[in-house]
Symmetry: C2
Subunit: 421 residues, 2 copies
């Protein structure tokens, strides 16, 4: 096991009706900015519930908040839009941020929290460019999670895009961990199918990027990771296995077979949070190459985050198999129950292992497809020209030696992209 520091101060309130804890968590008299996205929280009633808690419920507890709003934080939250939110924070003297939504809303809110105190006269985009270094304090954040996927509700990470330069970059700061997060699985009942599917893919890849490297003798972390993967597969299958049966009725993405089972949603929600809350990543090497390449695909072509991951990750397993073979075989065995049968005695060990690895990669692709997430660039009408375009972007961002050993060169990225066509 490698040396590590583990610290995660976020308080999680998990379960139906837990939103009521907001008033306990936020001190009296705060100037609260509620941040949210496209307004779907108004359709599913979460917005109304939050507002009622911050006014009527607060009053009954002898508290009074001044509540302001900043909406329109879309997927791949943009620096440009967030800067208009920063104006509200300054003019209204906001001292608490309440993010209500999914990872994009929470990420955008983390940027605002850090930008609020960023050195005068400096462009807060520096926070992102410097990957969070230089952030010395931030406004306190609370979150009401409505889309399990990114784990942002329980970590210090955020990914921000800049439209003008078509950039999408991640930053981390210990100062932007939420103070609390409310995880009520019933808030996910109204999500469209593709968002649930994308969330499962995102969580799955988060786990794999902390798991599928080289072995450092870390059985606890490995088994926790495998436990999350198995749960995502089992619970995801419960929701999506019959998805094609009623394709015709599926006009509004809400078919009969699209299970609204509390436990399924709860397990997916907790799995997504545990996928990226520091737990499985301590003391092990990590390989975030799939995210790095995927971010460039999103920035260039506008593909949804999870769509890029489902395309890149299986190809990365294929191309980088040599350095990852020990963990690939463990993944094949423990997650997909593919065992080394070696029936053909003439076959050498290496060939046999390659077969097992191919089967595991195939199972992974099948799982993504079962969820309805496509696995090739061509599925989105993207052709060979993408390879050089993305390589150019990787070079520009100095992502020329990535992976757990720094051996995922531009040449390897080219192979991965070609394999993803």
């Amino acid at each position: 096991m490698l040396d590590f520091v583990f610290h995660n101060p976020v308080r999680i309130h998990f379960g139906k009706g837990q939103m009521v804890k907001i008033c306990d968590e936020i001190e009296d008299g705060k100037n609260i900015l509620i941040t949210y996205g496209d307004g779907s929280i108004k359709q599913n009633g979460v917005y109304q519930e939050v507002m009622s808690l911050l006014t009527d419920k607060a009053k009954s507890l002898g508290k009074k908040y001044n509540v302001f709003e900043f909406s329109g934080i879309a997927s791949n939250p943009s620096y440009e839009h967030l800067m208009t939110g920063l104006e509200i924070i300054k003019s209204k003297k906001i001292d608490f941020l309440l993010a209500v939504g999914g990872g994009s809303v929470i990420d955008g809110t983390k940027f605002l929290a850090a930008a609020a105190f960023y050195s005068k006269g400096k462009d807060p985009w520096e926070i992102v460019l410097k990957r969070g270094r230089g952030v010395e304090r931030a406004l306190p954040i609370g979150t009401v999670l409505t889309l399990p996927a990114t784990g942002s509700e329980m970590n210090g990470n955020a990914v921000i895009s800049k439209k003008s330069s078509k950039e999408k970059l991640a930053f981390y700061s210990p100062h932007v961990y939420p103070k609390f997060s409310i995880l009520d699985p019933t808030t996910t009942f109204s999500l469209p199918k593709n968002q649930i599917a994308n969330g499962i893919v995102d969580s799955f890849i988060h786990v794999m990027e902390q798991y599928l490297t080289y072995s450092v003798n870390s059985p606890i972390q490995d088994r926790f990771a495998e436990g999350i993967l198995l749960t995502l597969i089992e619970e995801g299958t419960k929701i999506f296995k019959d998805k094609d049966k009623d394709k015709d009725k599926d006009k509004d993405n809400l078919s009969e077979n699209y299970i609204r089972d509390y436990n399924v949603r709860a397990n997916i929600m907790w799995a997504a949070t545990c996928s990226l809350n520091n737990l499985i990543g301590v003391g092990v090497p990590q390989d975030w190459s799939t995210h790095l390449i995927g971010h460039e695909l999103t920035a260039e072509y506008g593909l949804a985050h999870a769509e890029t991951l489902a395309i890149i990750f299986p190809s990365l397993m294929h191309v980088m198999r040599e350095g990852k073979s020990e963990k690939l075989l463990q993944y094949a065995s423990r997650v997909w129950k593919i065992e080394n049968e070696n029936e053909n005695e003439n076959e050498n060990e290496n060939e046999n292992e390659n077969k097992i690895i191919d089967l595991a990669i195939g199972k992974t692709r099948e799982f993504f497809e079962m969820l309805g997430v496509k696995i090739n660039l061509s599925d989105y009408g993207i052709g060979e020209e993408a390879v050089n375009k993305i390589l150019g972007r990787l070079e520009k961002h100095n992502l020329i030696k990535i992976g757990e050993r720094g051996d995922l060169t531009l040449e390897k990225s080219r192979e991965i992209l070609r394999n993803s066509l």
Copy 2:
């Protein structure tokens, strides 16, 4: 899954040489009380290292601490002894407690931290009697863990004994979580065999008491728990499997075969911490009956904590099997790989399940015995008279309806104790 709150603010520094972080963690000018046990930390050099860090190293960083000591915190830390430590805290105006040792030292230090601010004129034993309710603040605590077992380094629990009344009781307070804990696996190299073995048993039972109840559809928590159990079995076996080979040379409990492998120690250490840091216990029913009955055995007969657990827990599985059957079968299958073969077609399902459960209980007992931990009261010369004695103690402490359903009555406790003879 049941509703839950998860919050664990402890910062873990894990790895060889991490003790140096002490100076970063403790503010300049603090009056520090170092708390420790019987002085074994002077033999293995941990004491000297801590002292050198708090003086020379601190000086090189421009910090100055006033360091005081309170030693002699033995296993089952006693209220009576701790009250002498409280005098030092008051007379020296201590404002930081640094516990250096195992669970007993850390538990005792948590009591001191809470007692330091306990209402004037009131007896701090009330903290324990009220199970931590009424604790409104506590001195900050840091820990240097030298014995993986209790998980106290990453939770808000403590168990304190009162010699005069032969009581051993647990309390919990959110105010006594350590601010930081240093986990350096090399500090465990000098531990005598039986302490390593007891620590593994303690951790194993902690997991089981959060796992072996009734199913509430919590696959993440289940698999995390199973992952810890499998790790404790694998790593424990590495240390102890050959323990009898060199029995004769084993005068000092430190045989050749007693492996001092960094990774083995690191994995056991992290497993022990994850066994009781809130993680696997969120959203699931819990059954702490084995600890409750075990505490009475320690209070009455002076058995080591883990010794009581190894005796009581297998009997509890045996007696309470009906309500726990689903999880017992899962435990048999996932942890011990005992599969339902049902070769005899005439046998009914119930009989077959009972056989599997018996096998799993047997495997558990074998594991404890392999570690060198005894599994019967008679192994300690304790006879039938113990049954009524312990039942009387349980009744006195109102432990008459315990277990995850409150159906572990005194009558069931009697069965468990009789089965443990």
